[in-house]
Amino acid sequence: MTYSRKLLQDLYATMLRIRMSEEGFVEPILNREIRCPVHLCSGEEAIAAGVCSVLEKDDYIFGNHRSHGHYLAKGGGLKEMVAEVFCRETGCSRGRGGSMHLIDPSCGMLGSAPIVGGTISLALGAAMAAWVRGTRQVAVSFFGDGATGEGTLAESLNFAALKKLPIVFVCENNLYSTHLCIDEIRVSRNIYKMALPFGEKGHRIDGNDVLKVYEHAKQAVELCRNGEGPVFLECLTYRQRGHVGPDDNVQGTHTDIRPAAEVKRWLKKDPIKRLEKYLLQQGGFTAEELQKVQAAISREVSEAFDFARQSPFPAKEDLSSYVFA
């Protein structure tokens, strides 16, 4: 399989943009400049980047508590995201939502929410809307392995299959449901098989290989557009940071009980390093070219943090705005 230069560079830029902003949050979280709960997705960038790279602007996505990557990959504004994590008026949710409520309807990012499984049926509904209207839009639901314990997932899989709705269920399986290893919440690690009894196509893929994610997502979205959805993609990955915040152990609660050797093993599978290796060895990119991309993204991220810090907090007088439309 060969990939266009533009696609490769876009994937790289998206993943870097996510990683650099995630890592940028670490310091301000630790020094309490940022107070809202922040669930960093460092290490999981390939899934958001790969899936969203095959979506059109008017396709829909919904995220969960760990959705900085989904929002950015779908085209949500970086400045507005960083400002939202800082809970400023200029944030994408005007400081009313914080890190867990990112939204940008102008690019089809219809929202994210930390009620585990809570947005799966919302994505189902967005897919239903496309189906009712007869457009070729597709909806993507991003959720984690923890959400497989929720009944709403089974309900949504059934209804999506029943009506052949254009929805891609993307399960980011990072092997931990907050602190709990997957083996303690499920009898089987094969999450993708949940879709099979409903007659849905289900695949397990290496979620740290952005090109694999891209290929599967492309196929899945095409099927959906042709009325042959839904598709279930289980993407194996690992979070490099804590469940919430930079690292539960660094933050002093010592609640991250993942074995050190396991963490180390997964750090070696870092999706960005893997893509860099591919770009240099097979993609025809030079080290200099990659450095140029890095420098540009780094500048962009640093400007977004400046923007957030200089932005005002919401005014007290506006407490009761936006209760009703």
Binding site: L110, G118, S121, G125, A139, T152, F159, A325
Partner: protein, 345 residues
């Protein structure tokens, strides 16, 4: 051809609202359990499937959580869905999409995306159906910021409020009562809406205000007839929407009568009657000549047996009794004496 005095039942008034909404706006759709079956929804959905097709009229698996979530998600994607629950009890499976998602979405996203969904729940009391087919849970939803709660008492209101609910950009919980489905009156054939948050005086009176909700409006009007024979003129106020609540209208009535009975088909504790009583104490204290009386369900689950049902559901006689407790001239003095003698013991 339309007839000048065309009458329609409450349930067919809802049906007419659906037909008129769906023919005018392609984004309106109906989804829920049993929309194909009169067993579930009476004749409220008749003719819709044949006319608008199975993509806009969807009978669903028994999956209240995901189906309600799908309606909310469709609303976020620009549709105006009505999601139907043939018994309110089943809606409890859907609390997450209603309360966590729909009610909060607009606020927690800084006003970026509205949720124009109607969540339609049917109260289906009586008939020895027991505790899990009979609940009236409107107070629970009225408690939640971001939700509007509509409870029409007449066929004309059922149609006009359903149209307003669907046209509203916010999540609206529309609650009707199967006991009202057979009510008939002249209902305008044209497409009209009744504003959410505006109550109506159903009967003028000067001695006591009876605020009655949904089915209890009918009981309050019966009670008012009976009271009139005793020489007591009761004013009956129907708030029509429980949230937002038109307390101004209630206040105006209290300025005239000074006495308040609230009749609600929900439970007493933390219920709609409690909220209206609290508002009266807070905003209309100087008007009140007597303590507020509540006529509600007792704080216990609905029983099955017909003998217990008869004792459980409040009716016009309970409202008459409550009014009589208020208007007896020596009521306050008696109460005071009672307290004094009690304290002395």
């Amino acid at each position: 051809m339309s007839l000048p005095n065309r009458t329609l039942s409450y349930s067919l008034a809802i049906n007419e609202a659906f037909h008129q909404l769906m023919e005018r706006d392609e984004s309106v759709m109906l989804i829920g359990q049993g929309v194909k079956s009169p067993w579930y929804v009476g004749n409220t959905a008749q003719g819709l499937l044949a006319r608008f097709g199975e993509r806009r009229v969807i009978d669903t698996p028994v999956s209240e959580n995901a189906m309600t979530g799908a309606a909310v998600g469709a609303a976020l994607a620009g549709m105006r869905p009505i999601v139907e629950h043939p018994r309110m009890d089943f809606m409890l499976y859907a609390i997450d999409p209603i309360v966590n998602e729909a009610a909060n979405w607009f606020y927690m996203n800084g006003g970026k995306l509205p949720v124009p969904a109607v969540i339609w729940g049917v109260i289906n009391r009586g008939g020895e159906q027991g505790a899990q087919h009979s609940q009236a849970l409107h107070a629970l939803f009225a408690h939640i910021p971001g939700l509007k709660v509509v409870m029409p008492a007449t066929p004309t209101d059922a149609k006009g409020l359903m149209i307003a609910a669907v046209q509203d950009d916010n999540p609206v919980v529309f609650i009707d009562d199967r006991w009202l489905y057979g009510e008939e009156e002249v209902v305008p054939e044209e497409f009209y809406s009744i504003p959410l948050g505006k109550g109506i005086v159903r009967r003028q009176g000067s001695d006591v205000t009876i605020v009655a909700v949904s089915y209890m409006v009918r009981e309050a009007l019966k009670a008012a007839e009976e009271l009139a024979q005793q020489g007591i003129q009761a004013e009956v106020v129907d708030p029509r929407t429980v949230k937002p609540l038109d307390f101004d209208l209630i206040h105006q009535s209290l300025q005239k009568t000074g006495r308040l009975v609230v009749a609600d088909g929900g439970w007493k504790t933390c219920g709609v009657a409690a909220e209206i009583a609290a508002l009266a104490a807070e905003k209309a204290f100087t008007c009140l000549k007597a303590p507020v009386q509540r006529v509600t369900l007792p704080d216990l689950p609905a029983p099955a047996s017909r003998t217990l049902e008869a004792a459980y559901y409040p009716a016009s006689a309970d409202i008459v009794n409550a009014v009589n407790r208020l208007v007896q001239p020596c009521h306050e003095e008696l109460a005071l004496l009672h307290r004094v003698s009690y304290a002395a013991q």
